[in-house]
């Protein structure tokens, strides 16, 4: 019984680790979008914080 459990544990570990490798090579769409936004704001000189400064106006 103990031997079988060891085997089960070992194979689960291998499966789990290989699963991780698989997951990590998926394209990180949200991160790419953030990166794109940063670059586009620079290239087009859009100032994201200029649009959201209503604090001074409100008072």
């Amino acid at each position: 019984m103990n031997k079988m459990q060891n085997w089960a544990l070992a194979s689960l570990l291998v499966l789990g680790l290989s699963g991780c490798v698989t997951i990590n090579i998926y394209f990180p769409a949200a991160a790419a979008e953030k990166a794109a936004d940063r670059i586009i704001d620079e290239v087009w000189q859009l100032k994201p914080d200029a649009a959201k400064t209503p604090e001074g106006e409100a008072q």
Binding site: L9, N24, A32, E33, A36, I40, D41, V43, Q45
Partner: protein, 138 residues
Amino acid sequence: MNAVFRALVLSVAMLSCAPAVAQGNLDINTPAIAALQGSMQQRHAQLAPFYASGAVGLTDRGLVALRDANAVPLAQRGQVNSLVSAENADRAALYREIAQANGHPEWAGDVQNTFAQRWIDKAPRGWWVQRGGGWAPK
């Protein structure tokens, strides 16, 4: 014993996939990317009037295209053509560099599609953008 075993298996399963959740940012701080960004930023001042007049539009592939040559005075047509091809060369290189900088050259196509969407989303009113193959002003 069985309970201990199950708990162990569960914790292994949970721990082993934790790094996948912690997906941070894409690295865009390389000299090559900074250089491309700078060159595109400089060129933008020259391209902006052509975007505004609708002569040049943003394609659904994350590039730019001369969509209405008639909107460009004859004397400027050569200039606008070279601006468009220089811009497209920089953009293609940018998408490749971002994929490369993050250790996945095969992501270049996905990076390009993401940019295509964001250029169009961020384009000001009146610029021409390509959607589903057709051109329309934003």
